[in-house]
Symmetry: C3
Subunit: 362 residues, 3 copies
């Protein structure tokens, strides 16, 4: 299988080892250690370290596990492994370099950046209080899909300007095609279902940095985030019934679960607007910060979190989510079905008309 390596090649490999930029991880380091020992001293026959001498025991185990392979073969495997690690690193850098600088440039309504192992998705229509248009729904879905696959450890959601997000852009309702209201409602429902599903399925810790008032669907999906930090200026408002509509984002399940029916109903049925402190007390928000130090405190913390073992974080988050994933899919379906009915109802059409009439008079 292999033709043997010279002592020079072995020495070269040994020297190149120190040029690796990334720590290859402990298992690989133990393998390198063991192959080096086998290559230079032959099979392990030193006494087994004591049970509590954990580090030396691990090294000894690794060396011992090579059994009686020859020093020649150990040298060959050593060189192969170092070579593989160097190539992998070079390839990975090349790949990074091939990416367009500032990947956020590809979105019209979002700013998406990755720094310090954190991918940040920033809603970027500050003049419209970051209201979510149809285009923006699609871009957020795409940005979440990309963040799920990139190298980042944590994904952050936030808004540009003083508002976090004013929810569904009601002008979406005015874009009725010839197909009429029914068809518009059906398509809106499909988009919403896909949008909420992107949050349910997101595989890494997802953090909301709520930099100002939040309305509608931007509030309801918070129940699908792992951590929600809010400035004291933030408010949380879900005025569905006054628009003849009904709750989405799985909030008809997550909110009663979180705060009990008695508190959730005031929000979801009776349009109560919460302060940041109230939302924190009810468990919708993890912690509230003074506005002046909000960004610096939150980002210091997030950068520390992003240094934790990434697989442990992702797998722990997925474990927690797995407990109710099927349930959340079913809730999302039921909510969308009711909303599609609502959008074509008299109550909703009246309420949205009143909204635009009132706006027109201003």
């Amino acid at each position: 299988m292999f033709s043997g390596v010279t002592v020079e090649q072995f020495e070269q490999a040994k020297n190149k080892l120190s040029t690796l930029k990334k720590d290859p991880g402990n298992e690989v380091k133990l393998k390198i250690y063991a192959l080096f020992k086998q290559a230079t001293q032959g099979p392990c026959n030193t006494p087994k370290p004591g049970m509590l001498d954990f580090v030396n025991k691990a090294k000894w185990d690794a060396w011992k596990s090579l059994g009686s392979i020859s020093q020649d073969e150990a040298r060959q495997q050593y060189c192969n492994l170092i070579g593989y690690l160097l190539e992998a690193e070079a390839g990975s850098s090349a790949q990074v370099a091939a990416k367009p600088a500032g990947s956020g440039a590809t979105y019209e309504t979002l700013l998406v950046t990755t720094e310090d192992d954190i991918t940040t998705i920033k809603l970027n229509r500050p003049a419209k209080k970051n209201a979510i248009t149809t285009e923006m729904y699609n871009e957020i879905i795409a940005a979440l899909e990309q963040a799920a696959k990139d190298d980042s450890v944590i994904t952050v959601f936030t808004g540009a300007g003083d508002f976090y997000c004013s929810g569904n852009d009601l002008t979406n309702f005015t874009k009725i095609t010839e197909d009429g209201v029914q068809e518009m409602a059906r398509r809106g429902g499909e988009l919403l279902r896909k949008y909420v599903k992107a949050y349910i399925d997101f595989p890494k810790p997802l953090v909301a940095v709520v930099n100002g008032p939040a309305v509608g669907v931007s509030v309801t999906v918070l129940g699908l985030f792992d951590v929600v930090y809010a400035t004291e200026r933030a408010t949380f408002h879900t005025p569905f019934s006054q628009l003849g509509q009904s709750a989405e984002g799985c909030s008809s399940y997550t909110f009663p679960k979180l705060m009990g029916a008695a508190k959730a109903s005031e929000m979801l049925l009776f349009n109560k607007k919460l302060t940041a402190a109230q939302a924190c007390e009810l468990g919708l928000v993890t912690e509230v910060f003074p506005d002046s130090s909000f960004q610096s405190e939150v980002w210091t913390r997030l950068k520390a979190y992003a240094k934790l073992p990434p697989n442990s974080l992702a797998l722990s988050k997925q474990l927690i989510r797995s407990m109710e994933k099927e349930r959340l899919y079913a809730v999302n379906d039921a909510e969308v079905e009711l909303l599609v009915e609502r959008w074509t109802s008299d109550e909703c059409i009246n309420a949205v008309m009143s909204f635009f009439s009132a706006k027109a008079k201003l």
Copy 2:
């Protein structure tokens, strides 16, 4: 199908339109508009309004949707529609007038009234702290069934006098027939199951106005209400185990869900009595009010809520409830089964006997 209408009949219909007392809703108004345009100007051939001109676009869509029906036919349909609306309104008034004034008069133990789109069910045995007798259980079930069907938007539950409700009237236990304890327990279980089911199934927002201390089953079913307002004088007490009994009203599921096992167990296992403030902190109560302004603050708020779109409210409430309706049925069954066993147990019979002995000595 129709023989045409005269211009006079058409004019008459047009004039009668203004005599409608109730807004027929937007969809109907768009239809009336469209038929009038078609009847007077023929098929729609004006330019389509811009996407953002929502109101005119909706009108244009309605007119356009009539296609090429003749002006004659449009006149006929116009007259039919107006006629139908007028008849429906007259019929509805007649029906209301046929109802006995003050429908609350039909109950022995309750005062039931409907005003401002709110049906109020008031427990009316203030001398007995509104303790629930067998008759009262049956009347509450009937009142809930009626409120579910009436025109009200919200249903409110409250108590007459200084107490909200002292729970199950323990004299229910003394009414043992010849059939003996087993049969009494079986019948009591069936009544309780039906009673709790009436809360699970209630299809509109259900609000508790807790005007004073609440005990036993009047506390446990609060987990099935949508909103719970309490005066600061209210307390919440579920002394089941000290009476040798066990929890009902789905509280063995709703309470741990709401406040966690660590808090719920002190109530349900160890008879801890909560203040209104504590109950609010744990999510059992939506909000606590000073006793002096309790009624005025609460009813001002409820009257405002009752003006919201009724279908959105009812459908949103039903959506939230649908998430766990099957679960609640199963919990109700399990609780009733255990209670029937408890009622025939030595522990319970001893405890109830002690209760009456202690009372007899007073």
Copy 3:
């Protein structure tokens, strides 16, 4: 079936009745009363007491239920019943006397005692902050099994010394046998699954008396307790991800259910340490006490609780638990499966090595 008893034997039985030390319970007492009446006056033919005269009605019912059995037969049954009660009591005392005094003596790492109807399981490795070794896991499982079967009404968990419990003893990780890491992980997983199952299945009220800081698995299983009392000195810390591990003790289900994902994630993903007050606010702790009065306040309360009807307490607890027992089993399985994977992962091995390296340097 019986040959009759003399009047002397009947009088003897009557006199022995007063020597019974334990109240035989109400049903038995009613039976004794009825047999005595039948034996001395014959079949019941007094007027039936009124519905509300509960005590006399119960007595009358018991007497009436004997029908027309003869006075002879009633005397015989009376003597048999008293004889049975006296024998049962004597046997029960003998059994108690046969038990070794201080059953706690059989454990190496625990102190287990039963007093005032309360069985207390005290972790007893104060020098090691009550860290849980493999032996201790096994002993706790055995102690819970024994407490489930003994005569106590409530079971209490606490720690010796200033710490409640520092969690899994990390030296468990250093005891790698020749079978290697995989086998160790598999066995550790099986032990953990069995350990957590012992909490899920525990059939009586289970109370944690948290006398100091709590870490790791001693925190996560608190979600399976019925009541958690904590000294103000207690802290609650679950540093899983920083050790490359993931949550257990059903906490990936119970914690988000209890406090919502936004709060639970900071604990379970990001290693946030809670104060006792914070843990109480989030529902993990029932109540916090000043350290100076902690033990006296808590034990006064627990002794009172232990006097409540034992069956009502146990059956109520089992009813609450039954709502989610299957769910908890499934969660336990999923958590153990992930942890076994984690324990053999590079992230975890690195983190545990760092832990011991850091310790070695101290």
